[in-house]
């Protein structure tokens, strides 16, 4: 069935469900008169009450009607950091084809990514948000549209659609912007499986159940142009589905758990091979199926539900991926074809304790493992199978792991300064990383997303 036909069928079905709601609306005309009477009845009494008040302002109602009042909420988020490494490392995770944004943050003082966010209800039907990212690139400042999406506000039956470019709803951390993370950097599984964070041009549908227990189902279809999709995508190369449940336990505990899947069928997905210290490594391209499952869980505790004074949050995610397909290897005019069947796992868990309104401390542990099978199908004369296997970067190696600790200080909801230490055993050599980070938000108030 063509997607367009399917959409038409769905919209038709939902519309059939509407008459009840519409009928309720038509009755209201008959009641206008009664309401007017109700209002008039109180005008007199209201007049007496108002007379007692001598007030300087009528607040929101008395704002001068200018075009500015319809401006979207604007906020700018600036994040910078100072990092120190034992050895400036290059990202390498044995057994994983890397893609997306996986580079280590530069050593020393640097302004990372800055974001400018515009958001507003477009009208009574749509909410819109635009996030522009600014960062230093090879040729000066690069500007990118990180997110530009619209949410429907008026669909019945607990459904909602989002369309545009946005971060996927899979997992827990994926939808959170880096400034809302508890640590400076993404956990290793996010770097290995999603290139830091997965976002793309797509469409999402969600449904929230009319139950006491929070239950949400969602599904997304993407163009598939960003990792773990390939370079030359066809619509639908990456699709996802997720289910989330959550609730409260007493007044002091709240939780959420989710299960997500991401199916990608990349064609010619390029990834960094094994460089061996050379500036240019081999071209390694994967074509095949990549199926990822994520289980996520977050538990928050705050005495009496008062998150400001004291709180504890523990969150964890488990990733499982099955990849199958062909790997094309090319270096200096020589090439090889490999059959590849891989299973990779990764997980992290972190806990953050807020011990007063301004201070928090946290610990995190992350680990990855792989079980890949590679076989050389064909090879040109200038290469040896061992060389190709080694330089593909897909052979199992050490199980990359890392742990970190952080303390952060937030004078208000708009600023945060963080000290973090990472013991990084994900590459060849263990690395001790110290960093100081600042996160400043200018403008509109951010959200306390769960």
């Amino acid at each position: 069935m063509k997607p367009v036909l399917f959409a038409a069928a769905c919209v038709g079905g939902v519309m059939m469900n509407l008459p009840a709601a519409l009928a309720a609306e038509t009755d209201t005309a008959a009641l206008e008169a009664e309401l007017e009477a109700l209002k008039a009845d109180h005008e007199a009494r209201l007049g007496v009450l108002e007379a007692r008040d001598t007030l300087p302002a009528m607040g929101a109602a008395s704002r001068s009607p200018g075009s500015n009042v319809f401006n979207p909420a604007i906020s700018a988020i600036v994040m910078g950091s100072y990092l120190s490494y034992d050895d400036a490392p290059e990202r390498e995770l044995a057994g994983f084809q890397l893609g997306g944004e996986t580079d280590y943050a530069p050593e020393g003082l640097s302004l990372g990514e800055s974001e400018i966010i515009f958001s507003a209800n477009v009208d009574q039907r749509f909410y819109g948000q635009l996030t522009v990212g600014l960062h230093d690139g090879e040729e000066g400042t690069e500007v990118g549209i990180e997110e530009a999406f619209f949410d429907t506000l008026g669909l019945p039956g607990g459904t909602g659609l989002r369309f545009g470019r946005f971060y996927s709803g899979i997992g827990y951390l994926n939808q959170h912007h880096p400034h809302a993370w508890n640590f400076h950097d993404a956990p290793l599984p996010y770097i290995a499986f999603l290139g830091g964070q997965f976002g793309d041009d797509g469409i999402r549908a969600t449904w929230v159940a009319p139950t006491d227990l929070f239950l949400e189902l969602g599904t997304e279809v993407y163009q598939g142009g960003s990792f773990p999709g390939g370079a030359d995508p066809d619509f639908g190369d990456v699709t996802t589905a997720f289910v989330r449940i959550g609730g409260d336990v007493g007044m002091s505990h709240a939780w959420r758990a989710g299960l997500s899947a991401l199916w990608a069928t990349p064609a010619g997905r390029e990834g960094g091979g094994h460089h061996h210290g050379e500036a240019v490594g081999p071209d390694v391209e994967f074509t095949g199926d990549s199926d990822l499952l994520i289980a996520d869980f977050v538990w928050k505790w705050a005495p009496n539900g008062d998150y400001r004074r004291r709180s504890f949050t523990v969150q964890g995610e488990y990733f499982y991926r099955d990849e199958q397909g062909e790997v094309a290897f090319a270096e200096d005019g020589e090439s090889a074809e490999l059959a590849y069947d891989g299973t990779q796992r990764g997980w992290y868990v972190e806990g953050v304790y807020g011990f007063n309104p301004r201070w928090r401390a946290g610990l995190r542990y992350e680990r990855l493992s792989t079980s890949n099978t590679l076989a050389v199908d064909s090879i040109t004369a200038g290469l040896t199978p061992d060389e190709v296997l080694d330089e593909s970067g897909l052979l199992d190696g050490n199980d990359p792991s890392r742990w970190g600790a952080m303390v952060d200080y937030s004078p208000s909801e708009f600023s945060r300064i963080r000290l973090q230490y990472n013991r990084d055993e994900s590459g060849h050599e263990p690395n001790n990383v110290w960093l100081v980070q600042y996160i400043m938000s200018l403008g509109a108030h951010g959200a306390h997303a769960f």
Binding site: P3, P56, L213, D306, S412
Partner: protein, 299 residues
């Protein structure tokens, strides 16, 4: 086309979800509006409150349970003026519920139907957690409760037209009792005129205006910024010069700064209820309790 499967599921659920009608479901952001809705709707309403008296409403998280509650609501009633700006917008977007979106009859903000106090002339974040639309702690003036009661009744009648007469009768009964109670409180408050107090946060502005209290200073150096020792020392000097009758705070606020100032100046700490909950069983008890505690420290 395997990706059509989950879409078909979401679509089927949207069509099959019954539009169950079990009276009107009211989602109140704060307990005072939940209590008011119960006064006005009685058994016709299913009322939930997103927060309780022990929480600072500025700092609520958009928890999954709140998304579920808002998903099923027919009417949402909140203080507004930015009090819930950190979490209500998230809930509204995540709940997929058109009935409570801004502009719908199911979206009522108290700040839009009462005269706002403390509207800042200019706004700068260096001044602390300011609300550009005015001070949102508007529920501690009983006249504002009356104003919201009328607006709430109009919305209930609009959303549940078959029972409009029921809501009107209940409003009339409530207003009669409320007017009598206000007369009583205002008579008792005559001897509180000019009573000098220190407050923890800017949350007693409406009460002070209503009763004619004089707020000498606040424990917070800036709205939303926890008390600092330098600020408290200045405040102590001020209070030494112009003694106060009491230091007011709510139950959820940290008591250390109030206790410290009390120890240094001898002024008693009054923990006043700011909403319904616990021993404060309804809105009448809320103002009865506040009045009784203030009377106890009046000369």
């Amino acid at each position: 086309m395997k990706y059509l499967m989950p879409w078909a599921l979401v679509c089927a659920l949207a069509i099959l979800t019954p539009a169950a009608w079990a009276g009107v479901r009211v989602f109140a952001c704060e307990p005072e509006w939940a209590a008011l809705a119960t006064e006005l709707g009685g058994e016709r309403l299913t009322v939930t409150s997103a927060t309780h008296a022990g929480q600072d409403v500025h700092y609520i998280q958009a928890r999954p349970s709140l998304i579920s509650q808002l998903r099923r609501a027919d009417l949402m009633v909140c203080s507004g003026a930015g009090l819930e700006e950190g979490w209500l917008p998230v809930l509204l977007r995540r709940a997929n519920n058109p009935a409570v979106q801004p502009g719908s009859p199911g979206h009522l903000l108290a700040a839009t139907v009462v005269p706002m106090r403390g509207v800042p002339g200019d706004v700068d974040r260096a001044q602390g957690h300011l609300h550009a639309d005015g001070n949102p702690h508007l529920q501690v003036d009983p006249h504002n409760i009356g104003r919201v009661a009328r607006a709430l009744t109009a919305r209930l009648a609009e959303l549940d037209p078959a029972h409009a007469a029921h809501y009107r009768e209940r409003l009339a009964a409530f207003e009669a009792r409320w007017a009598a109670a206000i007369d009583d409180w205002e008579r008792r408050a005559e001897r509180l005129q000019g009573l000098r107090v220190v407050t923890h946060h800017e949350d007693w502005l409406y009460l002070a205006s209503w009763l004619g209290l004089e707020v000498v200073g606040k424990l917070e150096p800036l709205p939303g910024v926890p008390p600092t020792s330098a600020h408290l020392a200045r405040l102590e000097a001020e209070v030494a010069e112009r003694p106060v009758a009491a230091i007011l705070r709510t139950g959820y606020q940290d008591g250390r700064a109030a206790d410290w100032l009390s120890g240094r100046t001898g002024a008693p700490v009054l923990v006043l209820p700011h909403t319904v909950g616990g021993e404060v069983v309804d809105l009448f008890a809320l103002f009865d309790t506040i009045l009784a505690r203030l009377e106890a420290v009046a000369p």
